[in-house]
Every structure is written in C-alpha cells, then in structure tokens.
Symmetry: D2
C-alpha cells in the first residue's frame, strides 16, 4: 500500500493545480472536516450494522469508503496547512489517552474520564 | 516520522487492552468522528485566522493538534473496522475528485461540481 | 409555556447587551449549530438508550436538555439573522417532506427517497 | 405566523402516518440533527457572506431555509421524544448563559468562559 507521504504529495499537486489554497483557511478546512463527517454519519443514520453486514453490500461499503476518504483527506490537508506532523500527533494523542484511560480501570467500560 | 502502520499497531493494542471493541460499531465510530470534528471546529468558532496566527500561539496550536489527532485516530479506527485500506481509499478519492473538478475548469473557483 | 416569540425577544436582548452581533455572521452561526449538535450527539456516543432510560437519569436528561437548547437557540439566532420565519419554514419543509415521502410508499421504511 | 404547537401537531401526524417512531431513538435523532447541521454548514463552506449578500440570492436563501428547517424539525422531534419543553429549555439555557457571560465582563468579547 502507498504511504501517507504519497497521499501528501498528490494532495499538494491537486490543490496547486486548481489554485485552491486561497480557500483553505484553517477554519474552512475544519468546517469541511465537519461537513464530510456528517456525510459519513449519514451512511448509518437509521441503522447500526455489524461490519460484516456493511461489507456484504458492496455499494454501501463503497459509499462509506468515499466518505471516510473525504474526512481523511481534509484532515490531512488541515494538518499540512498548520504544519502538524499527523502521524506524530496521532501517536502523541494515543499516549495521552492511554494515560487518561488506564487499562486496568477502564477495561470494558465506556464511561468518560474526568477532564 | 513513524508511518501510519505504526499508528495502526498501537491503536489496535490500545483498544484490545481496554476491551473496547464491543463499543466500536461502525455507527458509533462514525458518530465519534463527527463529535471530534465538532470539537476541532470549535477551535475556530468565532475567528478565521491565518495559519501563522495560529502557530504564533503554541497553546492554541497544541489544542488543535489534539483535536486533529482525535479525528484522524477515529477515522483510522473506523477504516480498520470495515477493512478499508485508508491510504488507497484516499488516493482513489483524490483521483475521482480530479476528474470531477478538472483543473482547467475549476481553477480558482470554489463552486461545487454537479453531482 | 412561553412562546417562541418570547425566546426571540430575550435572545435579542442577550446578544445586544453583549454587543455580540459582530461575531454572528451566518457562517459562524451555522458552524456553532454544528458544534453544539456534536455536543448533543456526544450524550449518546457509545449508547442507544430508550427515552425512558434517559428520563430515569435526571442528570443525563438535564445535560441533554442543555445541549438541545443550545442547538435550538443558535438555529433561531441564525434564522433571525437571515430573516427566516422559523415556524413557517418548518411547516413548509414538513410539507415538502410529506410529498417526497408519501405515507403509502414509505410506511415503516427508513430508506431515502431519491433526490 | 403559526406557533410551534402547530408544528408539533403536524410533525406528530407526519411521523405517525409513516410509522417512523420505530427509527426515532434519541441517538438516531441526535445523529440526524448533526447530519442536517453539516448540510446547513455546507451552504457556507468556502465563504463567509453578510446576511444581505445571502438574501440577494433567493435560491441560496431558499436552500438555507430548508436546511435550517431540517435542523429545527429534528431538534423539536428529539425534544418531544424526551419530553423536553423546548421553549422552556431555551429560556432556561439563555438564563444560564447570561450568568456565565456577564454583560459587563464579556461585552464585545468572543472568548469562552471557564467551565
């Protein structure tokens, strides 16, 4: 599979070729992540299927893949715009979450940790 | 920088150690992407700053990094749950967008292409 | 119960007393509706309770009431800003939906009508 | 203008005629509010217009009215489902916000009050 760096390179060309940087303020990109996240959620609006159930319906799976990709592309674009090294930030946040939710204490529990 | 595969491996351990798979239906993960996207957008609720303006405020930049990472982690988790190869899906969606928005026609324009 | 007109009057005073009109562009208000909708959804992030189950937990019910009110207040504020008569718009949209989803055809079905 | 009670009555008939109560768990309705809020925000994705600018474009204004109405209808539906008296809840939340954001202290300021 191609790495995220290849996606970064192609995304940069895509934006440059269309001269779209002018629209990509951090706020506009954050709003776009939210809009696309809503379209992704729409795929599950009235139903809560098991993964196997989704994968048994290739058209549904394909629509979800498209929406997931949109969220990911816009999140990556925002990261690039703000100089955020996305993979590093993900690992750092995961380490924070591991501290906030100790496995021994939160095993099998969906409750929120206090802020 | 670590690759996305390292993030995948650590994310899998994190979830397994807490026995949280049971909460991670595709719908719950899609809802969580949306919730986190809202928290990200909240960082820009009443303002539309240039990237330099954000980066000049390290606490603000750090909060945004955390929110961006949350969106990305949950999007990756949903992809894993549905067997979506995220980097591939991103490249495919980018290729679709390139067809839908020909550079010659949409250069410098923020209008939507017809569906 | 007070009518929506009383809410409108108090909302207008609230905003005027704080001189907050300057922040309330339609986009900022639409973004705020989305942010608050995310906070509302967070109340149901990992669970799908029956209404009775929520109402049996007064603290949970109260948090949801607060989030529902935030979404409604911001939606009303956006309507006022754009001169949208909200109750009329709701009735018009309901009539449109009734046409798009004929009862005979969509009874008991959660599928989407074609656009 | 019709009152919110008329909207309530028509909304109830609309749902009953289609036997859609079965899909309207609080979570599904909260997710739907979020989805519709995303569609509303999409109307301002790459632009931050003045209200007059929107109103000068009747097709745009009409699309926004539809999306605002969708958010409001789903918020009202969720309120009804949970026995929340929406107008009361809005007034109560406004009173809370007035305490949290004293006019003297927050006049002209968009900063957040501490939790």
């Amino acid at each position: 599979m191609p790495g995220l760096d290849e996606v970064r390179a192609r995304l940069r060309s895509f934006v440059e070729e269309r001269d779209w940087d002018q629209f990509h303020s951090p706020k506009n990109l954050a709003a776009s992540v939210s809009i696309e996240a809503g379209e992704l959620l729409e795929q599950f609006q009235w139903t809560d299927p098991q993964p196997e159930h989704v994968r048994a319906d290739p058209a549904w799976q394909a629509r979800i893949e498209d929406e997931v990709a949109d969220v990911a592309l816009l999140t990556l674009l925002l990261s690039e715009r703000l100089g955020i090294p996305l993979e590093d930030a993900m690992l750092r946040k995961l380490a924070k979450n591991a501290q906030r939710y100790p496995a021994a204490e939160f095993k099998g529990s969906a409750r929120k940790a206090p802020r």
